[in-house]
Each structure stands twice: as structure tokens, then as C-alpha cells.
Symmetry: C2
DNA sequence: TATTTGCACTTGCAAAATGCAAGCAAATTT
DNA sequence: AAATTTGCTTGCATTTTGCAAGTGCAAATA
């Protein structure tokens, strides 16, 4: 159990501080649903994160134990980023944000497709996806 | 349905942009669960938001139709902030963030108490709370 | 073996956002 | 009439961001 001492004492405040901004959550989302796992993957992603910000977010995510850095099996020049259990536990949060977003915004088709199953049976979707993600990080 | 055109084209990105940072979500949380409804309430709240930031967040929340400004029934000197349906729809997001936070952080007792019911039956809790909040904004 | 390419970052700098303290006008209380 | 409360605004120093350009290492190519 972590205690973060900041100017803002806890509530969700401290847990939201972990993210810094939207970028961290988007990185996790992209890892969960769009199979991104390298620096280059994130850089190329639709949202257009700046390279220095990406570096700082990845570092923060690692420090907060939401991701792990591994040597990429394909090549030593590559880094493979992997989710931790702590990050996987964010799945319900990410799903709910997307469901809300779908209600009030135009979201891209790829995301809509993803949400189709989630809307049919939310609990089932979360259970299934969690199991898949766990399997991924186990290997 | 809104379309936000920013450097980052959509996903949750645009919906997260609405919040700007943690403060907006905390304001909504405080309105939902801790009966805060005036500028002074938010200023005094535990997290310690700066006054200019509070002003800018309230403005953004109003522009994004998550809150409404009304004359306070007690006095014309006061402003009463009220949640919109769009904000109430964020309840599941806020609940999930808190449940995650409780798992990995030390959260204050007042929040823990709140979460007790949510953990017993999440769907029921969300349904009941939504109904309550709707009643509040109706009056 | 030499060289070019790809990948994961770092660095420098201008622009924007933040935090703090102080100020301010209108409404209420004394 | 004076003091206080409420909801902000303003100025300014500090921090964070975004963009462009580099750097260092590994692997592919010549």
C-alpha cells in the first residue's frame, strides 16, 4: 500500500496524480487494446504525443509500477513495455471512461467496435479481457 | 454529440481533455458525494486547489456543460453550482477510479465509508446514487 | 569491415499552464 | 455606515509543455 505525500492529500487526487495527464491513461489503453508495446508504437499512435512527454510518462508509469521495461525478444535495440497487474486493474476505469465518451463524443470506429462487446455485457467483458491480459503478462 | 477538434484526434483523449487535470474530476466528485456546491466549498476542500485554477476549472466545466451556475437561494452574493446529467453519467467512472485507488493507496476514511456500499453491490449503488443525484438536479 | 538505418531516447528553447499572494466589487451582516 | 463574506481577477515567478534537432547503441546493408 502506497502513501503519496503531496500538496494534495489523497482522495482520488493522489491516484490521478499518478497519471499526470491523459497521456498515461492513453498509453495504458493502447497497450491493453491495440497491442502497442514499444516506444515507437506509442509515438506513432493517433493522438500524437510529443517524444519528450512520452519519455517522461513512460518513466513515471514505470516508477509507479504500472508498466515494466523488458528487452524486446526480437532485438536488443528494442524495448518492450509490459503492463503490470496494477495497470490491468485499471481496465474497469478505462472501460467506463470510454462508455461515457461514446455517449457524448464522436469516437473513432476502432474504439466503437471495441465497445460493442463491453456494452453487451460489461462484467463479462471485463472478466474476459482481464484474463487475456493476465495471460499476456505471464508469458 | 460533440466533436472536439484538437491536436489529438479523439479516443478518450478528447474526453479526458475536458477535464484538463484532476481538479475537474475532484470538483465533480465533491459535488456528488460531499454536498459541495459553492466556490467557497471547493476552495476549502481537502485537496487545496488554487483559487485561479478553481475559477478556470469551473469555467471549463460550465463550458463543457458538466455544471450549471445558478443564483444561490440563500443569497444573491452566492453562486450555486449544479451538476448536469452529463456529469452524473460520470458516476461509474468516478466509482471505478475510487475502487482502484482503494486497492493501491491509502485513502481517507470518509471515502472508504462511501465505498463500502459500492463494493457490496456496484450496479445497485450506481443506480441508487444516480437516482438521488437526478432528484437533486430536478429541484 | 565500413556504413547506413532504425530505435529509444535527450537536449535546448520558446510558449503555455500553474501556484501563490494580493486585490476587488457586489451583497450581506453588524 | 462600517466590516465581513463571497466569488472571483490580476501580477508574477516557477514549472510543465511542445517542437525540432540531436545522440548513442544495435542491427542490417554494402
Amino acid at each position: 500500500m502506497e502513501t503519496i505525500k503531496k500538496r494534495s492529500e489523497c482522495p482520488i487526487s493522489c491516484s490521478l496524480d499518478i497519471f499526470g495527464d491523459k497521456w498515461s491513461l492513453l498509453i495504458i489503453r493502447d497497450m491493453m487494446f491495440f497491442n502497442k508495446s514499444t516506444y515507437g508504437d506509442f509515438l506513432k499512435s493517433a493522438e500524437g504525443i510529443a517524444t519528450n512527454i512520452l519519455a517522461s510518462r513512460l518513466q513515471a508509469l514505470e516508477e509507479n509500477k504500472l508498466i515494466e521495461k523488458l528487452v524486446h525478444p526480437e532485438s536488443k535495440a528494442k524495448v518492450l513495455y509490459k503492463l503490470t497487474q496494477k495497470a490491468i486493474d485499471l481496465l474497469p476505469v478505462i472501460v467506463e471512461i470510454h462508455l461515457w465518451a461514446e455517449k457524448y463524443f464522436d469516437i473513432p470506429t476502432e474504439v466503437k467496435i471495441l465497445l460493442k462487446d463491453a456494452k453487451k455485457g460489461k462484467d463479462e467483458f471485463i472478466k474476459t479481457t482481464t484474463r487475456q491480459l493476465k495471460k499476456q503478462i505471464a508469458s
